[in-house]
Structure formats: structure tokens, C-alpha cells
Symmetry: C2
Subunit: 277 residues, 2 copies
């Protein structure tokens, strides 16, 4: 693992690291915040998955998570959103496909399958690496994310309830199989057979029987992507009568930006800390 930077913040350490990824078949970069408590004992770990066009850096710079993570003693890991590098397939003029738009799935179609294996990367390879290098309590893991990363967090939680104990999302894409900005990507990554899309779609996963104890979702009502891309009401309908808990908070005047995310970041970190013990 290569150290890109390590900086003191709120008594802990904000680091950026790079490593050769087997899952993504190339170098991957991620950020980790280690709170001061981790010098004394293993601490719970939170995975934060970012939205379209982001790298690890957006939330690291604008997410405002370190103060509360330091207070609660949470390790926060922020991966990139896709494979990177000159040999990685991309659509240069399409921000909803390719680099910055990995959708946290394992692509099966050429040319994408060669590198775009973010599901395996986030659920297997990166946890193993983080366990090896940081003082984490892997029995206490939570996951959250924004937009495409909210989709990633919710689908990964629904498919790994034995490993993840908490999940929350800021303005998530809850039904990517039918959302404006993901249908095109899903078809290219996964092929035309929509049956293969269902394990990467939170609403479809719940319909197919996947379960997770409860979700927290915050959504701005002034978010321009609300009606065509995000549609949290679909998830609210999907979990009805399933026993899955959902706290869905709709906020007047808030948009899709990190100004929205940072406003509610403390609430999310507390949500996870309460459930991770």
C-alpha cells in the first residue's frame, strides 16, 4: 500500500492511500480517517460511497465528517467510484458511464468487465486491505453514501446483512434499473437481460426477499434529480410490510450538493454509532 498523504485532523489522521487492486485490475486510491481512539483500541468502520463524477476526494474535502467521527471514534473509509487509468474503458463525454460512474457493480460485458468490478472491490478486497493496515473492529461495520453511492450502500447492505450492521444514505438512487441516469450504464455494464440488474437495485432486492433491519435516508426537496433519478418514494413503497425499518426525511430547500450532505452528516454518523455500539 502506497501512502499518498497523511494529515493530522481533529486529533486523528486523514490519509490517502493507493494500492494495486486485483478486483479492478489496476491501481485504486482511497481515503481513510482514523480517529484518535484507534491508537488505543480497534474501532468500528464506516464505508462511505460517493456519487457520480466523484473520487475519494470530494467527501474528504467537503463532507465535514471528521469532527464527529473523532468524537464518536469511527474510522471512515472513502473509496473511489470507479477504476482509473489510461487502459480503463471510458466514455469521455458521458458522466453517467465509465470513470467516475462505476455504480458499485461487477460488470459482465466487454469492454467493461476487464476493470469495472467495484462490487467485489468494495465488499471483499478493500475490507481485507483495511483490516490488514488499520485498527478496525470488523464486527462493527456500517455503510453509507450519496446518490450513486447511496445506491451502492443500500444494495451492499441488503446483500450483506451478516457483515454490515447499519446503513444510511443521502439522496440515494433507490431503483437504478429504471432511473434516467443509470439505465444506460446498467445495460452496458450488465447486458440487456434485466434479470441480471436486480441484485444491484435496492427496490428489486427487497422485492426479491433481501432484508436489512433499517435504513436512514435524507433527501432534499430542492434536489433537481429527485423525480427522475432518485425517487425515494419507490423504496418507501418497496419496504412496506416487509419488516424493514425506514426513516425517510424530506428536507425543504436542500439540493443534491455537499452543502446538503455536510448539513446532515452528524446525524448519519450518530445513526451508525448508535447501531455499531
Amino acid at each position: 500500500m502506497k501512502i499518498i498523504s497523511q494529515t493530522t485532523a481533529f486529533g486523528g489522521m486523514q490519509g490517502v492511500f493507493a494500492h494495486e487492486s486485483t478486483a479492478c485490475n489496476g491501481e485504486m486510491t482511497f481515503a481513510v480517517y482514523v480517529p484518535p481512539q484507534a491508537t488505543r483500541e480497534p474501532r468500528p468502520v464506516l464505508w462511505y460511497l460517493s456519487g457520480l463524477t466523484c473520487t475519494h476526494a470530494n467527501v474528504m474535502e467537503k463532507g465535514e465528517y471528521r469532527r464527529m467521527a473523532a468524537e464518536l471514534g469511527l474510522i471512515v473509509v472513502c473509496p473511489d467510484t470507479s477504476p482509473r487509468g489510461a487502459d480503463v474503458a471510458d466514455e469521455l463525454t458521458n458522466w453517467q458511464m465509465g470513470k467516475g460512474a462505476g455504480f458499485y457493480l461487477d460488470a459482465t460485458e466487454a469492454p467493461w468487465a476487464e476493470h469495472y468490478r467495484m462490487y467485489s472491490y468494495i465488499t471483499e478486497e478493500l475490507p481485507a486491505l483495511v483490516r490488514e493496515h488499520f485498527r478496525v473492529d470488523m464486527d462493527r461495520q456500517g455503510i453509507f453514501g450519496h446518490s450513486m453511492g447511496g445506491h451502492g450502500a443500500m444494495t451492499i447492505a441488503l446483500r450483506n446483512p451478516e457483515r454490515l450492521r447499519s446503513c444510511s444514505a443521502f439522496a440515494p438512487i433507490v431503483a437504478p434499473s429504471s432511473a434516467d441516469w443509470s439505465v444506460g450504464a446498467f445495460e452496458k455494464y450488465l447486458g440487456a437481460d434485466k434479470a441480471a440488474w436486480r441484485k444491484y437495485d435496492a427496490c428489486a432486492l427487497v422485492e426479491d426477499g433481501a432484508r436489512f433491519p433499517e435504513f436512514l435516508i435524507d433527501q432534499g426537496k430542492a434536489d433537481g434529480f429527485l423525480d427522475n433519478g432518485l425517487r425515494p418514494g419507490l423504496f418507501e413503497a418497496a419496504v412496506k410490510d416487509t419488516g424493514i425499518g425506514l426513516t425517510l426525511r424530506m428536507h425543504e430547500r436542500y439540493d443534491h450538493s455537499y452543502y446538503f450532505i455536510s448539513t446532515f452528516m452528524d446525524d448519519h454518523l450518530r445513526w451508525h454509532a448508535d447501531r455499531l455500539g
Copy 2:
């Protein structure tokens, strides 16, 4: 005044605005955070001056000031660090001179004097504009800043104690007349006669009799600019036996970045709120 953006954050509004500046002879951009309390009553205003290479955007994105500003009801104004535009003199390969390096002074030398009048801009023109457009209580003004902006905040406070009631700084340049990264700029902006530099030098101002009640300074001990550029010990020596209060806190492991600034931002906002009432 032109609205560049207005975004809801922490119940208030983070805005970016542009206007034609008389002082700087061209368009200037600045950021303002308005806390929710300002919808009901005039609120105190804090001026945040940024460091070399910054615009208004660095602290707006990485400073993490909105949560506490909303809690305390503080309006926070973040100006740019220099005039901008194609017709503004610059040294393209020198980050310590020209654009991004206005040093909060009124230049007297050609070609700089045509636009570089940041002292007049910050102390006269921008306050008048802010008073006109936002619900500010101009009897409760504080000022703070980082690095070159800490220099700006301290010199402006020392020269305007009747208007400013509180001042603090993150890693300020306290003696720019003799610091590595400012001597060259001062000579070009102000000419070779060092007597003209003294009113833009916090240590020299105190030596010459300027007074301000008290300062808070936070400084990282792992800051690479500490010994040649910042040297807070010089200010500590300058205020000795003057009656000027100084709380100088030296922090192990912290560097010069916004990770350092954001860590201590809450303390600074509380420092100002305590003094602004």
C-alpha cells in the same frame, strides 16, 4: 450585485456573489454564509481572509464553518485574495505575487496600483456592500484569517480597533516585512522604502503604537512555513508589556492545511461570538 450561487446549508444560506469593485477596479467575487437567525434580526458579521493562492472558495468548501456559524448566528463573509481578470497585472509563475497574493494592502507602485487595493476593498467597499445587502449588525464585527489572511486580519484589526471587536488567526504571517514569502511582494507593491511597509506588518504596527484588545492565534508545529514565513514568536515578543492580550496555541503534528484550520474552526467562531455578544 450578481448572484453566482445560493445554496441551503445548516438551515441558512451559503451564497457566492460578484460585483464591480471601485477599489479594485474590476469584478470581485466573495462568499457569504447567512445563518438562519438572520431572517429574524441583524446578526454579527465575521470577515474571513484567506491565504496565498486561495479564492473565496477554499474556505467555503473546506473550512467547515457553517455548522457552528449557524449555531452561534454569525454571518461569515469570505472575500477573494486579490483582484482578478485578464487586465490585472500578474506574475504567472510566482504564487507569492499578483493574483491570489494581494496581501490585503493598497499597492502604490506600477503596474500593481491600478487594481491591487485589497486594503480599501476589505475595510471600506465590501463592508458597505454587505451592509446594503444582508441583515448585518455592523456594530458587531470580527475578523479572522489564515496565513496571508491572518496577516490581513491582524493588521486590519490593529488599524481599525474602533470598528472591529474581535480578531483571531490560523498560522498568520505576523511580520511580512521580513518573511521569506512576502518581502519580494511588499517591495513590488509598496516600493523599496520599508517605512511604507510598516502599516501592513502586525509586529511593526504594535511597535509603532497600534493597539487591539486581544488576539487568538493557532499554529501547527508541523507547519512547513513556521520558521521562515510565519514566526508567531515575533508577535508574542512584540505584544509583551503592551497590554495587548495574546492566546497563542502551538499544536503538535498539525500542518498548514485546511485540515488544521477546520480542526480549530469551532474554537475561533466561539472566540468571536463571545466577544461580539
